[in-house]
């Protein structure tokens, strides 16, 4: 008899797997039928998948910035979420990178020619490089943080469990204080390297858009800086949503320490969102007053994107969460609601940023319209499911419990 909790787990995993298989099927189909089944408009050549990519990798980078407070900069209370935070960052980046690889016409060529004939002046080249290096550092960082615990499980168990965790430790099953100390020291270094490459990666991602002089909405020095800022609230909100959901689904109580930290992170989210709002306001004023960029920002303010801009980005994604998070009696439930709202608002924001940037200036005065193709939505769901799948398995099998040191 399978316990009720496990039943939910298996149902959930099967559902996610179904989405992943469906997505894989569509990807296969796009190779047979041609990639146009994934994209409708030739004028919106960076479509849904790029928005998904930006959303995930920026969240991943942001969470890396937050977790670095703990084991890199030595603030003890933040170490509580180090393992889950770093694991979350790596799964988010893997999901994001998969989205961008699926978006490419020829992945295999990307792998070859970035080494054979790299264009060192291209933003995409550096972005790809930084994100790949960053991902490796994050994975190493997680492994160093979790190795001792995995070694303990391996040493304390028998059978396949021992083999599984033994493999995860790569055979290094030393649990002594000395080895744990070394792990921590190395994790600090890996974390510092991850922070540096993560910051470089996310700002380069902003620069990929910022470099484009032909795209008035994206062009300029604003986005490389803003992407770093938005990474913090993107990562924080997504992480808070995930951690609270995990505890709720597992029916576990948060420790008082963790409760306090989650509330503090909620306040931090409110602060970051407020700074983000200021940046956006400044961006709008600066753009509107410049005749060269006024048209592009008007697409958001008073054009086809105005509804999703005001309702999703500003109201649901920013203003309401700030209001909830700053209320005097902040509860975990409130943090959950506001982080969910922010996640939804941010997803819409990335999507709008991407499509609005491409519709202006339009061709022959007509803005090309865009709505994701059906198959594009299927692949998007599959990527989100893949993220869910990796995280769910990780949360069940790998060490990431928020236990005091």
């Amino acid at each position: 008899m399978i316990p009720e909790k496990d039943k939910i787990f298996y149902w959930w995993i099967s559902l996610l797997l179904a989405f992943i298989v469906l997505g894989a099927f569509v990807v296969g189909l796009s190779f047979i039928e041609g990639a146009e089944i994934l994209e409708i408009s030739p004028h919106i050549s960076w479509s849904m998948l790029v928005a998904v990519y930006v959303f995930f990798v920026v969240s991943g980078s942001g969470m890396c910035i937050v977790t670095s407070l703990g084991h890199v900069f030595g603030i003890k209370r933040f170490e509580l979420i180090s393992k889950r935070g770093v694991f979350f960052a790596s799964t988010a980046i893997i999901a994001g990178l998969l989205a961008i690889l699926l978006h490419l016409g020829h992945v295999e060529r990307a792998m070859v020619y970035v080494y054979l004939s790299p264009n060192l002046k291209s933003g995409i080249l550096w972005m790809g490089l930084f994100y790949t290096v960053y991902l490796s550092f994050v994975i190493i960082e997680y492994w160093l943080l979790a190795r001792a615990e995995m070694a303990k499980i391996a040493n304390d168990s028998t059978g396949y469990r021992q083999v599984f965790y033994g493999l995860l430790t790569l055979g290094m099953r030393d649990e002594s204080e000395k080895s744990v100390h070394l792990d921590h020291k190395l994790a600090k270094m890996a974390g510092a390297a991850a922070l540096v490459t993560g910051l470089a990666a996310v700002s380069t991602l902003g620069a990929v858009f910022g470099h484009l002089e032909s795209r008035a909405l994206w062009y300029g020095a604003f986005y490389p800086a803003y992407f770093i800022l938005s990474a913090t609230f993107s990562g924080l909100s997504f992480f808070l949503f995930i951690i609270i959901l995990t505890y709720r689904v597992n029916g576990e109580e948060m420790s008082n320490k963790l409760r306090r930290l989650v509330k503090e992170l909620g306040k931090l989210l409110a602060l970051m969102l407020s700074i983000g709002l200021l940046f956006t306001a400044w961006r709008i004023f600066a753009s509107v007053s410049n005749p060269e960029t006024a048209g592009s920002i008007m697409v958001l303010l008073n054009g086809p994107f105005s509804f999703s801009f005001y309702v999703f980005e500003i109201l649901l994604g920013t203003v309401i969460p700030i209001a909830i998070l700053l209320s005097p009696d902040l509860t975990i439930k409130k943090i959950f609601v506001s982080s969910l709202l922010t996640v939804i608002g941010l997803f819409v924001m990335r999507y709008d940023f991407l499509t609005a940037g491409q519709v202006y200036p339009g061709l022959s005065d007509n803005l090309p319209s865009y709505f994701p193709a059906f198959f594009e939505i299927v692949i998007t769901m599959a990527i989100i499911a893949l993220f869910g799948f990796m995280y769910t398995l990780g949360a069940r099998l790998l060490p990431m419990k928020e236990e005091g040191h």
Binding site: G34, A35, E39, P42, S45, W46, I65, S68, L69, V72, F73, G74, I75, K76, R77, F78, H103, L104, G105, H106, R109, A110, Y113, V114, L116, S117, P118, N119, K121, S122, G123, I124, L125, G128, L195, V196, L199, A200, V202, S203, T204, G206, A207, V208, G210, H211, L212, E213, S214, R215, G220, A221, P224, A225, I228, Q358, P361, L363, S364, D365
Partner: protein
């Protein structure tokens, strides 16, 4: 080395010196061997034989005219001809051949992460290496004329390559196919001179002289491109390296500032208090 070897006579040298400041101003090398295509919309009769000549030479599938009758480039259509009406003067309008403008300093080549796009400084051709292109579509985003199109079947970006496999010995397929000599291909200086003369005569506009820092496709239009509903490019080199460096460095400085702030917060113990120490 003899002067004759380089083809640089005293007179040419002085001419070059004179041209240098003007060329530097738009970022162009002061050479005169550059070739360009000339499109004279005043001669064009809209037969679209250039479109089919292009298709034939490049072995591309036939074009299906959309219901709107407005022809647009796609992954297998490198050039289109549309009747463009003047916004201010409905009477005035011309058939305009639209294609890759072959910028002298192509923004697409500058952003391509795998150097799949190259510019030939003599023939003028900006060519996508179809065996190298990884289909990221960054070139389309960077193009000031929004030209490169994604071929959904080959999964690469394709566009007019100025018949790099014909020129300069044989004229481009469209030029050779034009029945009324509305198209020409030759030394850029010569083409530009022709265009200026014609534009003066018909009170037209020379597209490609300054747009995007100068292009190797020069089109004589009845009026400026914005009035004809064409994509308008700024009259300067697009995506200059120094500008991109400026933009990237803002990000790096912000990143450094964030890291420094985190460090300082951590050093001050981040409000952990003494009890946790």
């Amino acid at each position: 080395m003899e002067w004759e070897d380089t083809g640089l006579t005293r007179r040419n040298f002085i001419k070059l010196l004179g041209a240098a400041p003007a060329s530097l101003a738009v970022g162009l090398p002061p050479d005169s061997g550059r070739h360009a295509k000339l499109v004279d919309t005043f001669k064009c009769i809209g037969c679209r034989r250039c479109m089919s000549a292009c298709k034939r030479w490049n072995k591309l599938p036939p074009y299906e005219v959309p219901e709107s009758m407005v022809r647009d480039m796609d992954g297998t259509t490198y050039t289109v001809v549309n009747f463009m009406r003047d916004k201010r003067n409905a009477e005035a309008g011309k058939f305009v051949k639209w294609q890759c403008q072959h910028c002298i300093k192509p923004a697409c080549a500058g952003v391509c992460p795998v150097t799949a796009i190259t510019k030939n400084p003599v023939t003028g051709a900006v060519v996508v290496d179809e065996t190298k292109c990884m289909g990221c579509k960054y070139c389309y985003q960077a193009c000031p004329f929004k030209v490169p199109r994604f071929d959904f079947h080959k999964r690469i970006t394709r566009k007019c390559h100025l018949c790099y496999n014909r020129v300069p010995k044989i004229k481009p397929a469209c030029v050779a196919g034009c029945p009324v000599q509305a198209l020409d291909y030759g030394e850029r200086d010569l083409m530009l001179e022709k265009a200026r003369e014609k534009a003066k005569l018909v009170k037209g506009y020379v597209l490609g002289e300054y747009e995007a820092g100068g292009t190797d496709v020069i089109t004589i239009l009845p009026s400026p491109p914005e009035e004809l509903g064409l994509t308008v490019a700024a009259k300067k080199v697009i995506n200059e390296d120094i500008d991109r460096l400026r933009i990237s460095s803002t990000g790096f400085f912000t990143g450094a500032a964030v890291a420094a702030a985190l460090y300082l917060y951590g050093r001050g113990n981040g409000g952990d208090g003494d009890k946790d120490k």
